[in-house]
Amino acid sequence: MTTTPDTARGPAMAPAKRVDTRAILLFAFVACLFVGTGVLQSWNTTLSIFNMALVGAIMALGVNMQWGYAGLFNVGVMGFVALGGLAAVLVSMDPVDEAWAAGGLQILLALVLGAATIVLAILAYARLAAGPLRTLAMLVILIGGFFLFRAVFDPAVARVEAVNPASTGYLGGLGLPVILAWPMGGVLAAGAAWLIGKTALGLRSDYLAIATLGIAEIIIAVMKNEDWLARGVKNVTTIPRPVPYEVDLQQSQWFIDLADRLGADVITFSSIFVKLCYASLFIVVLLALIWLSEKAWNSPWGRMMRAIRDNEVSASAMGKDVKARHLQVFVLGSAVIGMAGAMMTTLDSQLVPGTYQPLRFTFLVWVMVIVGGSGNNWGAVLGGFLIWWLWIQVEPLGALLMQGITAGMDADSWLRAHLLDSVAHMRLLTMGLILLLVLRFSPRGLIPER
């Protein structure tokens, strides 16, 4: 354990003045990776990886808040990302008037009824004394409520989904600018996180993990099967963009002039331009989030969170409301993840519930946090960039590796053919190899918590 006494931390507020050369070198290295991709492959590729990496970094920041700050093992990242995506649809798509007319209000009514049932049941549970009467009352409320809900809900849903199912068949959104979906994604995720936190945060480590994982699966199941909400597996495509369309740019005179002046090909430049627009929006969000989390983490708030993480029993005896704080970071972290989810859906301009797979949206983000260094915001961000770059680039890297392996072999040997056929699987294998290597040489993460 190497821990250098950190005298510079001073009144814990002062930002670490010590310039962390290791961190700077690592960021420079990752920057090289991106620039290298730009030079060797294309700037378009780099930028599209970069944009997703920004989103990944934000997700990693969110997970880092939960795990790094508070030791909460949230494996339901995917669910919050999906909720963010849902927000993008609900905010930016145009409302489908026909569908609303067919039963929109009735669906809302049903949802209110459903919520009321649950609230009533909880009230009954809290107010009535334990005993058979309470059980009976609860059962009556829940079962009655369920059937009432279904009776109102089902026909309305059937009518809404029947409205032109090939292209709509859902209620649509609010028709607002898609940028608003980002904070909304955060709010939606935060709301869900609050509900989850209220019930499940008492669970420990892996039990919390499986609980959150389960909730994420439930969220995805709802998004897949409730077509009236966001078309389910039929997907919502053509979500509006906050930035211009390439095709429009390619036709605008000013843009053609600009491209000319820069000596660039209009088509290539148009897609680079669009990506740069996205990138700058994302960077603003990322920087703001980093600033906020750095300030919070290097303050008495952060100190309190670390204490809670180290020892809950003792922190609680020292007057810290552990439950409330856990809920707080859980909600905040989830909001950040939800925001990233909305940003991602905006970038993709489509919501495809089927793409939400735990491996990609939960475990990959975890890898980012751990490889980057949990408990360190910069680490999480670095991990986000590095891992996302790898996730995309291991495909060509893996192929390259395979070529290397097979280079020495007889041109038409059976093994060589077989290996070259399997080249696609080098993708995950390479990822695994790199992951293990990184983890081996810095088990506490690339930029560890101080």
Partner: protein, 263 residues
Amino acid sequence: MIIVQDLHKHFGGFHAVDGASLTIETGSITALIGPNGAGKTTLFNVIAGVLPPTSGRVVMDGEDITGLPPHVLFSKGLLRTFQIAHEFHSMTCRENLMMVPAGQSGETLWNTWFGRKRIADEERALRAKADEVLEFLTIEHLADHPAGQVSGGQKKLLELGRTMMVDAKIVFLDEVGAGVNRTLLNTIGDAIIRLNRERGYTFCVIEHDMDFIGRLCDPVIVMAEGKVLAQGTIDEIKADEAVIEAYLGTGLKNKDKLEGAEA
């Protein structure tokens, strides 16, 4: 100050605390002693809200505090230390102390972003206070050392130090002395007396070192098998047959033999 009424705490079929009733007077330094497994720590844990009681009540200054969570009790001025040190291992010793005071404005997220000046001032004061406590405990050289990597006794000191960071009404000390050097323990004893006299803290102390108890405490409550066995001044207790049999014992059996062998 604290009245415990017929408290029970059962673990499955085992009655760790089995109908204990006792009173801790305001301004006293009350000792709680008893054989290992008598239920002292369990009683502490119930009072401090770590464990829910099976039955019974705890009253503090006329207010029923049974089953309140620890952090609420803390805000009511009830503090406790742990028998097995519960330090925040990845934080420095100084931070371990600085985190204690409640109501720090820097614990509100909003302030960490937009109230930075105020936080800086508060932090300066806190830091000075923490350093003072560290110095008192003779571990000022460990201020920037991670608390997880100090010696066993130093952890206990830190544990005590945390109670000195705030103005408490009542402090429960669970075996502060175990593993602490006796000379230092005397200093701690002095501190406890000073806190008691000057700042009016009430103390309830679990300890197995009878000298320490004798110097500090009045009254002494003896627990055994989850119940209160005896109560009185130290001298009364030392003379109590039941207490001697259950707890104090009569000294080393082999002692004379040892000396005999040497002779």
